[in-house]
């Protein structure tokens, strides 16, 4: 499988995503410079975490105007798989490829720590290697991770199974006490209606080796690879 990772100026998790896809999963990976106008020959596109354009103005607000974003949109329209992680999620929301917005954490502080997320829908391109309701141990690392969407959008997301992950406790219990950033309904990750574009605030690439504390993040990438190979 061939992954393309988009490199915006200020991105910083692109090398981590590349490392995991290459070294842990032995898949092919290329870096795509943000000034590229076209994407071809890729099976999935990753928008990595970081601080594209320094998060100046608003997270993702400038990156969405990078030339490559038009190509990403076309890629998504044609059914290609797109993963937005952290800043990537923020960019996808700004670009209108995913509904809702990410606001500052309720604490007004940046937060970097391990948390748990519960898998809300395991029948998707991004979660099919997870078991129903499984709690994944993965880190978050953001200043603007408080997911917000209006009531109508939330209803749609819930009814159509587009909510992929909610912040939870070690046993999968979803409650306000386990909400690290004030996200509406503890939402940590969603997908679009067509089921081929996803965004999540936690960093699955940081949890792919036991040496670093957890392997739970592997399940996200495994899911994508399984879907592509037609095995799920």
């Amino acid at each position: 499988m061939r992954f393309g990772i988009v490199l915006f100026p200020g991105s910083n998790c692109e090398m981590d995503c590349q490392y995991v896809l290459k070294e842990v999963f032995s898949e092919e990976v290329d870096m795509l410079w943000h000034k590229e106008q076209r994407i071809s020959g890729y099976d999935a596109i990753v928008l990595p975490g970081g601080f594209s354009y320094g998060d100046y103005l608003r997270t993702g607000a400038i990156a969405r105007f990078s030339p490559i974003m038009k190509a990403v949109e076309e890629f998504a329209d044609a059914g290609g798989l797109v993963l937005g992680i952290c800043n990537g999620f923020q960019i996808l929301c700004e670009a209108g490829l995913l509904p809702g917005a990410l606001m500052r954490n309720w604490s007004l502080h940046f937060i970097c720590k391990y948390i748990y997320i519960r898998v809300e829908n395991e029948r998707t391109a991004f979660t099919n290697a997870c078991s129903p309701g499984q709690a994944l141990h993965v880190p978050i690392n953001h200043n603007e991770g408080c997911y917000y969407a209006d009531q109508e959008t939330l209803r749609d997301l819930n009814e159509r199974g587009q909510v992929l992950f909610r912040y939870c406790g070690p046993g999968g219990e979803v409650s306000e006490g386990y909400n690290p950033n004030g996200s509406t309904e503890n939402i940590a990750g969603i997908m679009n209606r067509a089921g081929n574009v996803m965004g999540m605030m936690p960093h699955p690439e940081r949890a792919c080796e036991m040496l670093l504390g957890s392997e739970d993040g592997r399940r996200i990438f495994s899911s994508v690879i399984r879907r592509w190979k037609g095995k799920d």
């Binding site: 100026p9 200020g10 910083n12 981590d16 320094g54 970097c112 880190p139 200043n143 070690p170």
Partner: protein
């Protein structure tokens, strides 16, 4: 164009130069300097840039060793870590700016130290910081802590270098003068190190990065003076950081360094264009000519003086091979960076600054960079030292409720959990952080190898105040011990020395003593010093801070699987103490918390015994005998045991421990005797541990067992029986409670 002021002795003195120094400048030039030249001399001969008061003492630090590829004198030290890799690291202070404007002061401190690393050709992969503030109960100190931490977080996270560890300490002494010491480390192929030196007649000198403005003019002169009460007026001398530009600058420079276009490169930090140009020329034994008309600017009407002294951030100066300049500029264009050819390398050894055709400054580069005045300032042991050392601690009443003391110590911000700080830092980027913050040292793996490195920052200002030489030795020993407890072999150190006004003989004495203590310890541990930073004039309204060295220790793990954490691992494991407890209460956190005293002699360190304990511990870790290891430091044995029970990320452990030593209970539980490590191991390995202890001549005492769900310590005349959950609550809530 505004008229430049006339250069007089009085003006030189306003610039922080003495009358003798002014005479010396005239002798070097053979004439009186003009205004621009005066400004250039003033910044280069400032304490901050020239180390004029510290140089004679720093010479005593050992700087050579097998693994050292680059010692002091470059932008950062370089150490061989095997498998063709080198680590590049340095520490620097940003104390003065952080007091004036905590967010930007700390942020630009991070930006500056990171530039020192990538200018050597290394990708920065980790930062640490050592922070000191006045007591948290005062709102001003909470404001400073919040601002500094936000600044480090805001800049460090966005620039994409994880902050993997550090330390925070509170004491009245830092009330008017907080310390912000930032450490950064990068990694590079050992044969691809770049140096800050110019070479090659007519090679182009290229400027890249942010445009130059009026910010930060006289930053280094400010760092070379004491504060009066109105530090806020100095705010315009603090620079404003732009982490995005720096991130792009890192990527662009590393891309350039992968080519063969580059001859030398240096960042523009303190003293900006002046420092980078004359240091590069001086190191290369050549001259540099710069045309100020070509410098990218963001403000109009800047005069040569301002352009040369500006400390605008995120700028680099480099020398490329003639003929490659087009390709160099192309790389910067790809990253949308401002870059311009601003000058050339000459052979006459002069820093020649022009504006168009007019020469506005012409100074021998060496006279600025290497021939600054050096002072062997008078020293005198201050009277307080003996007085405090002789404080009678033996007659202090022994507290009745030891359980309450344990809780008080766990609540003391100096011991309490600092997660409120480190959770604001991205500490996982690059997928290297094997031991996260919250243990004795940070451990990173080195990708593509089986190796790892352990990093620790340490320095106890209180010990140094009471006995500077002993304090300097302990700072090095403790940093090494932290690295050893994490499974690393100490390799080398960088250091940041924070002191008061060196023109006062008692401060100079403290400085010389601390350096001597450090030098002794470094020699015995065979850990050379690869460079560092001296920050003098840490005084406000005549009150100096505690002499505070901060040691940044880098250790090597030949096998990353040897990494260890401070917390216990398994029910039933045995708990041993390596080393011996003495009846020592002097300088302890216990004295401060329970008796509001900062006095006595600090714990006495026997370097040979320390080394034996460390060697035994490391050997036992490498042989797979130990499951955890934790250094005994602030709060003594009781706090070390408590931390081993309640800092596991997911659970608490209970213990049953019996202490058989015959001494004051408070000294036994809370004394801070050096050279002690609390370790845990499976019962089956007990003989192996005893063999190793015997081989290294180290006392290993069985303390008890990881068992049950109570924290139980028994002695001849006391018994503690506490709930680890409650202890954890005290430990974790202490610092956040000040911010509610």
């Amino acid at each position: 164009m505004p008229r430049e002021p006339e250069v007089t002795v009085a003006l030189a003195q306003e610039h922080g130069l003495t009358e003798e120094e002014f005479e010396r400048i005239k002798a070097i030039l053979g004439r009186s300097p003009n205004f621009t030249e005066l400004g250039i001399f003033a910044v280069m001969w400032s304490e901050h840039c020239s180390y004029k008061s510290s140089k004679v003492h720093l010479k005593r630090l050992p700087t050579k060793g097998k693994a050292i590829l680059q010692g002091p004198g470059e932008n950062a030290g370089v150490v061989d870590v095997g498998d063709g890799l080198a680590v590049v690291f340095k520490i620097e202070s940003h104390n003065h700016p952080s007091y004036i404007e905590p967010y930007q002061g700390a942020a630009t401190g991070v930006g500056g130290i990171i530039r020192d690393i990538f200018t050597m050709g290394a990708r920065p992969i980790a930062s640490l910081n050592s922070l000191r503030f006045g007591p948290l109960k005062e709102p001003k100190n909470r404001y400073l802590l919040s601002g500094v931490v936000s600044g480090i977080s805001g800049y460090g996270n966005a620039v994409g270098v994880p902050t993997v560890g550090g330390e925070v300490f509170f004491s009245e002494t830092y009330r008017g003068n907080p310390l912000v010491n930032v450490f950064s480390l990068g990694i590079a192929p050992r044969d691809k190190i770049f140096l800050g030196r110019a070479a090659g007649l007519n090679n182009p000198v290229i400027y890249v990065g942010s445009k130059t403005g009026r910010d930060g003019i006289h930053g280094v002169t400010m760092a070379s003076e004491e504060f009066g009460s109105g530090g806020e007026e100095r705010r315009p001398t603090v620079q404003v950081g732009d982490p995005f530009t720096e991130k792009v600058l890192i990527e662009a420079c590393l891309e350039l360094m992968a080519t063969d276009y580059l001859v030398g490169i240096q960042d523009m930090g303190g003293a900006g264009l002046t420092c980078s140009s004359c240091e590069m020329a001086s190191r290369g034994g050549v001259g540099i000519e710069i045309d100020l008309a070509k410098i990218p600017r963001r403000e109009e009407g800047m005069i040569p003086y301002e352009l040369m002294l500006s400390e605008s951030q995120e700028r680099m100066l480099l020398v490329a091979r003639a003929g490659t300049e087009g390709k160099v500029l192309e790389i910067f264009k790809k990253w949308d960076l401002d870059a311009a050819i601003v000058g050339k390398v000459t052979e006459d050894g002069f820093l020649r600054v022009k504006e168009g055709r007019r020469v506005v400054a012409k100074i021998p580069a060496k006279s600025l960079a290497e021939e600054a005045p050096v002072y062997d300032r008078p020293m005198k042991e201050p009277a307080y030292v003996r007085e405090l050392q002789e404080m009678d601690l033996e007659t202090l009443p022994i507290p009745f409720d030891m359980e309450e003391i344990v809780l008080c110590l766990l609540r003391s911000p100096n011991i309490a959990r600092k997660s409120m700080v480190w959770e604001q830092y991205d500490h996982m980027l690059f997928l290297n952080t094997v031991v996260l913050p919250g243990s004795d040292a940070a451990v990173l793996r080195l990708k593509g190898t089986n190796r790892g490195i352990a990093l620790s920052l340490d320095g106890n200002g209180r010990y140094c105040y009471l006995d500077p030489r002993m304090g300097g030795m302990i700072a090095v020993a403790e940093a090494a011990r932290n690295v050893v407890c994490s499974g690393g072999r100490p390799l080398a150190i960088t250091n940041c020395l924070n002191f008061g006004n060196p023109e006062h003989p008692d401060i100079m004495w403290q400085f010389a003593e601390v350096v001597e203590g450090m030098a002794e310890a470094c020699r015995l541990f065979e850990v050379p010093v690869t460079g560092g930073n001296v920050s003098f004039y840490n005084e406000t309204s005549g009150r100096a801070i505690f002499p505070t060295p901060c040691i940044g220790m880098v250790g090597l793990l030949e096998d990353i699987s040897h990494h260890r954490v401070q917390w216990f691992q398994q029910e039933g494991d045995l708990i041993f103490l390596l080393g011996e407890s003495q009846e020592e209460l002097g300088g302890s956190e216990f004295l401060k918390v329970a008796h509001a005293l900062e006095g006595g002699r600090p714990p006495q360190l026997d370097l040979c015994r320390e080394k034996a304990v460390q060697n035994a511990c490391l050997d036992a870790i490498r042989k797979g005998i130990l499951k955890s290891a934790h250094d005994c430091s602030d709060g003594g044995l009781a706090v070390a045991l408590a931390e081993a029970c309640m800092t596991h990320p997911e659970r608490n452990w209970g213990i049953e421990v019996e202490l058989k030593d015959d001494m004051r209970t408070d000294a036994l539980l809370f004394g801070e005797s050096q050279s002690r490590i609390v370790v845990s191991l499976p019962e089956a390995r007990i003989e192996h541990l005893m063999e190793i202890a015997c081989q290294f001549g180290v006392k290993a005492t069985l303390l008890g067992r990881v068992k049950g769900d109570r924290f139980r310590i028994k002695g001849w005349s006391f018994s503690l029986d506490m709930d680890p959950k409650k202890m954890r609550q005290a430990y974790e809530q202490a610092i956040p409670s000040y911010f509610r």
